[in-house]
């Protein structure tokens, strides 16, 4: 796919210095939360509005600015329409974790949901990695369980992942999560890593009954 970012930069570069053009673009992207390379319907206008604000700072001449805006509009409209309309991710996805092969599925599904939600590449990988850890935890310690992926649409858009199992449970959570603990298979590392990757981490476990780990990652 042609790089829309680069094309916008070229247009902006015709009216301002390269470094300002980059600044205006990254500014507009961060403001509108739109990825130019993955435009959804309506995104083009949101991005254009921000770009115009940026151009107003640096392109003083009205006619020039208008030309610049028109060029970008044409570009974004053409690039925007080649993509299919976005699919809203399902609010809740259940992934049964019954064996080792389900780990790959679970993190793949998690990444897909994040992608549809519009998470950045880095965030998608973080969530997928966390899901991988949680699923592996289930496989290694409880044989089977379930992972639920829920999209959060409240004040803060994001994703919640809950891993449940009816395994032996964790006797001493604080020990597992401490820096000293390092299990033979690396569970401590996996869970601590997950906690570091996520914005919220909540671990509940009853020995003999099972474990529930609830993590959240927000978009902003």
């Amino acid at each position: 796919m042609s790089d829309t970012r680069q094309q916008i930069l070229e247009i902006l570069g015709g009216h301002m210095s390269a470094i300002l053009a980059r600044s205006v673009l990254s500014l507009s992207i961060s403001w509108s939360k739109v990825d130019p390379n993955r435009l959804r319907p309506g995104d083009d206008n949101r991005l254009l509005a921000e770009l115009e604000k940026g151009c107003r700072l640096y392109v003083r001449d009205d006619t020039l600015r208008q030309t610049c805006m028109e060029q970008m509009q044409t570009l974004l409209t053409i690039n925007g329409h080649t993509l299919p309309p976005p699919e809203e991710p399902p609010r809740l996805t259940r992934v049964p974790v019954l064996g080792e092969s389900d780990i790959v599925d679970a993190r793949g599904i998690g990444r897909l949901v994040c992608n549809k939600l519009g998470f950045s590449g880095a965030m998608q990988i973080k969530v997928a990695t966390a899901i991988s850890e949680l699923a592996r935890n289930i496989v290694q310690y409880a044989d089977k369980g379930e992972i639920t992926i829920t999209t959060l649409n409240g004040n803060r858009r994001g994703i919640e992942v809950v891993a449940r199992d009816e395994g032996p449970g964790i006797a001493d959570i604080s020990l597992v999560m401490s820096d000293r603990y390092n299990s033979r298979t690396g569970m401590g590392i996996g869970l601590k890593g997950t906690r570091n990757l996520m914005d919220e981490f909540d671990l509940k476990s009853t020995p003999g009954k099972g474990t529930e780990i609830r993590v959240r990652k927000y978009m902003d």
Binding site: D105, G108, A122, R136, V139, T185
Partner: protein, 133 residues
């Protein structure tokens, strides 16, 4: 999701005195274990000095996979083979660091080409840790 059959193995290519493994898929635990076994067997059978694991196609690298890669590097070193991991995605690298994971004992290269260059040079002598980082 690409369905990978239960018997699928990650191909290991021998190029001159090196083994090159290119991972272009989501790694399941079975594939990881299989790869570890396969690499060990190949190192034993063929005369090589270097191992390159290209991870540019990997989806995520969690604690298990990173540990396995590290183990492969350590095993290879014990058998006289240096390991270079190439093409790690910057976002995955960031995730690894944020999780507090590392790939100690394995060298890293930006791409397959630099990995080959790296292995073609003489092995590093014991150098002061501070200077070599």
């Amino acid at each position: 999701m690409t369905e990978i059959s239960d018997t699928f193995r990650i191909p290991i290519i021998k190029l001159h005195d090196k083994l090159i493994v290119s991972i272009q898929m989501a790694l399941s635990d079975r594939l990881v274990m299989q790869l570890k076994d396969d690499i060990t067997t190949r190192i034993e059978r063929v005369n090589i000095t270097g191992l390159i694991i290209d991870v540019s196609g990997i989806d995520v690298m969690d604690s298990y996979i990173s540990r396995a890669l590290r183990d492969m590097g350590l095993i290879a070193r014990l058998m006289g083979v240096r390991t270079v991991i190439s093409g790690l995605d910057p976002m995955i690298a960031m995730t690894l660091v944020e999780m507090g994971l590392d790939l100690k004992g394995v060298s890293a290269a930006l791409n397959l080409e630099t990995a080959i260059e790296l292995l073609d040079r003489k092995p590093a002598k014991t150098r002061g840790k501070g200077a070599a980082a």
